[in-house]
């Protein structure tokens, strides 16, 4: 009462770090200078740079490892959720043509488009890509997969119509040795002559003859595609390979369009001029009708709508699919009731994770409290029991629960023996949500106990004593004084358990049956069974976003600073 100065905040005079900072703030006469006259900030930064560099060097290996082995694959995987280049890459001509098609007109695309489709599918089937596209589009429209597989075989027949006519007209068109001198440039032919197939050297890349390219553009383009495929994908000798049937179709198209073959000289020009005259009498192919013959689905609007919808290189289709929606002609729409699955699954995953987190708190809190209040020796011993599950395989623990929880399992047997349940009404504890919740609570319990314990360890028992000495009952002292201080531990444990639970896979897979599975089981299914990686990636991305969103919400409500894992 005499010394009032002691009640204010501590204010020391003299050289303390605080005072130095205050002085620096108040300095209005230019920047503080170091002894050598450079600004103090600059020399401080220079002094710290070495330390920072060294710190960076120390973490660099791990940083690189994580970037390469963790971040990059995840980014790549998530990217698949929007990636859709396969349609435009496989059917370039078709998707170009479809851009102008009005899907709401009720008409199937015009016949010209079918010619493009023919070329696309022909090339794709040579490259064996058409089935892959088929399965991709099959995710959106059932039946497309078999449609493409059928068409891959069918386009060969369409091409043969022209091939046969050319070959019947003149044997010349049959052989690769006639085609190559006609199409290839002189230099390339020379290179090929000097190339020894057995030497292992790379085959000289095909070069088109410029005159041919200008007179027969489509044939040249198709032959180039063919040559590139033979030379570098099949790695066969181009000189010995007869051209694809589609090259004849292209030649027919060029010639019937009135190509100026007279201006062409060199090998095969005579035969070409003869053929140019003859094509007028050739039987033509109606591509649209030909495709209808392969499968009448090609004249179904729905197929074309699907192809058009999924033409762009990037699509929101997977994400829509992941939230039970789909792309309709009029924009996104909900799927029919009976096809909805994922939203329900997401909600179920969240609710079950919350229940698991809640039961972990209920079971873990008293254990952590006991551990924190026992003498160190006993506490360490008990801590080993808590940690014991960590040293046992997850699979073993989950399988043990299978044994325990079955209808004829240990728990049911015990309950029947005790007479708690009748023998004919044994509890269904496994292959449902109960099973998942029981097993996962057990497996994740240590993740709740450990942060709780380390936080409780830092709460001195004097707080409880103080509260009691102030008149609080045991319960009030606990609830008003101890519990609020242990909340950071609950927060840390809950975040850990919830985030682990929401992405858990093995345990729900083994004990969850059909009703106790999580979204992660669905993701695994799409990764390994249905091979719909795009959808798996979209589901994964949504899961990640939900977790980050919850984390953000937690930070806003509770504050992440209040989370303590220890100390």
């Amino acid at each position: 009462m005499s010394d009032n100065t002691a009640t204010g905040p501590d204010q020391f005079t003299g050289a303390t770090p605080d005072n130095a900072l205050r002085a620096a703030d108040n300095a209005d006469h230019g920047p503080m200078l170091a002894a050598d006259g450079t600004p103090l900030k600059k020399s401080l930064n220079r002094a710290l740079r070495r330390q920072k560099l060294r710190a960076l060097m120390l973490i660099a290996p791990l940083l690189v490892f994580i970037l390469v082995a963790f971040i990059a694959p995840i980014a790549d995987m998530l990217f698949r959720s929007v990636e859709n280049q396969i349609v435009a890459d496989t059917l370039p001509r078709t998707t170009d043509g479809l851009a102008a098609w009005d899907s709401t007109s009720g008409e199937i695309p015009p016949p010209e488009l079918f010619e493009g489709l023919y070329k696309d599918i022909f090339i794709a089937s040579e490259r064996k890509l058409h089935t892959r596209l088929g399965s991709r589009l099959n995710y959106e429209l059932t039946g497309v997969s078999s449609l493409f597989r059928k068409s891959g075989r069918g386009v060969e027949d369409i091409g043969e119509v022209y091939q046969d006519q050319f070959e019947d007209f003149n044997e010349f068109w049959k052989d690769a040795e006639n085609w190559n001198p006609l199409m290839g440039s002189a230099e390339w032919l020379e290179d090929m002559a000097g190339w020894d197939e057995k030497s292992g050297d790379r085959q000289p890349a095909f070069e088109i003859r410029d005159e041919v390219a200008s007179v027969l553009p489509e044939t040249a383009a198709m032959y180039e595609t063919f040559a590139e495929f033979v030379q570098f994908e099949d790695e066969d000798n181009l000189l010995k390979e007869d051209p694809w049937a589609i090259v004849y179709s292209a030649l027919y198209a060029d010639l019937s369009a009135g190509a100026d073959v007279a201006s062409l000289s060199g090998p095969g020009s005579a035969e070409l001029q003869e053929a140019a005259v003859a094509v007028a009498d050739f039987e033509t192919v109606d591509y649209s009708a030909a495709f209808e013959e392969i499968d009448k689905d090609w004249h179904s609007i729905e197929v074309w709508q699907t192809i058009q919808t999924y033409s762009p290189a990037y699509t929101s289709g997977y994400f829509l699919n992941a939230v039970d929606m789909k792309k309709g002609p009029d924009g996104p729409e909900m799927r029919p009731e009976n096809e909805r699955l994922y939203i329900k699954l997401f909600i179920r995953t969240m609710i079950m994770s919350l229940v698991i987190t809640g039961s972990c708190i209920l079971l873990g809190y008293p254990v952590a409290w006991i551990l924190a209040n026992l003498p160190a020796r006993t506490a360490n011993l008990l801590m080993i029991l808590v940690l014991l599950p960590f040293w046992t395989s997850l699979l073993v623990r989950t399988s043990a629960w299978k044994v325990m929880l079955q209808q004829q399992g240990v728990i049911n047997d015990t309950l029947v023996w005790l007479g708690v349940v009748a023998d004919d009404s044994r509890l269904a504890l496994i292959n449902n949500q109960t099973g998942t919740i029981i097993a996962m609570t057990h497996i994740l319990l240590p993740f709740m106990i450990l942060p709780l314990y380390s936080v409780m360890k830092t709460i001195p028992p004097t707080y409880l004593r103080a509260a009691k000495s102030l008149g609080a009952t045991d319960w009030t002292a606990f609830w008003r004084v101890y519990f609020p201080q242990s909340v950071p531990g609950i927060g840390a444990g809950s975040i850990l358990v919830f985030i682990l639970a929401i992405g858990y896979y093995i345990t729900p897979e083994l004990v969850g049956g059909t009703t106790g599975t999580f979204i992660s089981n669905r993701i695994a299914y799409h990764i390994s069974s249905s091979l719909n990686w795009g959808l798996a990636a979209a589901l994964g991305a949504i899961l990640l976003a939900v977790v980050l969103g919850l984390y953000w919400a937690y930070d806003k409500i509770v504050g992440i600073d209040n989370v303590k894992l220890g100390g």
């Binding site: 009462m1 103080a466 000495s469 102030l470 008149g471 609080a472 009952t473 609020p484």
Partner: protein, 366 residues
């Protein structure tokens, strides 16, 4: 043992024993009677049982045997929260998740006091320790001294008649400690509360208390007002523990009423006051306070026994001189003299003769 048994004792320990392991007694046969309004300090080295006594009084430990009474009522079976005893802890124990005002309001809330009453009392208590402006702060935003003031206010806000303090100033620096010692004693006397104060700092005990109970080995070695404790220690533990003390060992030669002759182990004979010796032939430790030793022959009575001493060390301490001597075989004999113009400053190596009044030299137990 000094017991002050009165009918109106406010706090009573009667034959209290405490054992934690069933083999050793931490508190052995404690008898203590405190009148209302007394400031009593329990002083002792760590492990002497003083904190255990405090905890038994607060209700956090139960006595193994004996009776503890508060205002005539046995409180052995009353839980801590019903005892209505205020308590201040060494580490303050302010609830970190509450503001200062909420901390103070807590004991009033659990007593179901109305909001306006609470606010008035909290404000009064904070003003009492000059922390009125800090109501909205969190404990972590305050210095140790400020926290302890708040802790004190919290222990007083529900107006307990008895307040226990468990080394409340132990974690503070010296200057702050002295300020707070003064404030605490003043507050206690102003409010008329009874205080049991535990400390191992003898200066604190001497400056603050009405009476000091010196604990050692589970017993009260002496219970007396500070001056008596310092000047008239009843046994050699108290003499050693309280203040600086010179000890010489020897055998009692002769007891004559109020004085006795002690033959030291080196053969020298000195005068002493028999305190804790029964008969001639007993071994004894004589205790002399450094400031009671005299080497100016003019001030000693002519028939006083003196001892030869050699100056080993002379330390100038400002207000006093501290001189270490070699006396009767011990080289740890210290004398203190006031820094005054007429006092001779001794020089190491100098041979002097020292003596004292027989009353200042107490023959205690060996």
């Amino acid at each position: 043992m000094a017991t002050n048994s009165t009918a109106d004792a406010f706090v009573e320990f009667e034959r209290v024993q405490k054992s934690y392991d069933g083999e050793n007694l931490v508190v052995k046969d404690l008898n203590l009677f405190m009148p209302k309004g007394e400031f009593l300090t329990m002083l002792g080295p760590s492990g002497s049982g003083k904190t255990t006594c405090l905890m038994m009084l607060a209700g956090f430990e139960t006595a193994t045997h004996g009776d503890i009474r508060l205002d005539g009522q046995s409180i052995n079976n009353i839980p801590p929260h019903k005892r209505g005893i205020g308590m201040v802890f060494q580490n303050y124990a302010l609830f970190p998740h509450m503001t200062v005002a909420e901390n103070l309001s807590f004991p009033l809330e659990v007593r179901k006091m109305g909001k306006s009453d609470r606010e008035a009392k909290v404000k009064r208590a904070l003003d009492m320790v000059q922390m009125g402006a800090f109501g909205g702060r969190r404990p972590s935003q305050m210095s140790g001294g400020q926290q302890q003031r708040v802790a004190l206010a919290r222990a007083l806000v529900f107006e307990p008649e008895l307040v226990l303090m468990d080394e409340p100033l132990g974690a503070l620096d010296k200057q702050l400690r002295e300020t707070l010692q003064f404030e605490i004693t003043n507050l206690a006397h102003e409010l008329g509360i009874t205080v049991v104060y535990v400390t191992h700092d003898q200066t604190e005990a001497l400056t603050m208390s009405d009476r000091v109970a010196v604990f050692d080995d589970g017993r009260i070695q002496q219970l007396a007002p500070p001056d008596k404790l310092y000047e008239e220690p009843e046994n050699s533990f108290v003499a050693q523990f309280i203040g600086e003390n010179n000890t010489l060992e020897g055998v009692v030669k002769e007891i004559k009423g109020d004085s006795c002759l002690v033959e030291l182990d080196g053969g020298e004979v000195i005068d002493a006051k028999p305190v804790n010796v029964q008969k001639a032939g007993d071994r004894t430790r004589v205790s002399i306070r450094p400031e009671r030793v005299e080497y100016n022959k003019n001030r000693l009575s002519p028939d006083a026994h003196t001892l030869k001493a050699e100056v080993l060390e002379f330390i100038y301490m400002g207000d006093i001189f501290r001189t270490r001597l070699k006396v009767a075989g011990t080289s740890e004999f210290v004398i203190k003299t006031r820094n005054a113009p007429d006092v001779e400053r001794l020089v190491p190596g100098q041979q002097i003769e020292i003596g004292w009044l027989p009353d200042d030299c107490r023959a205690l137990d060996a």
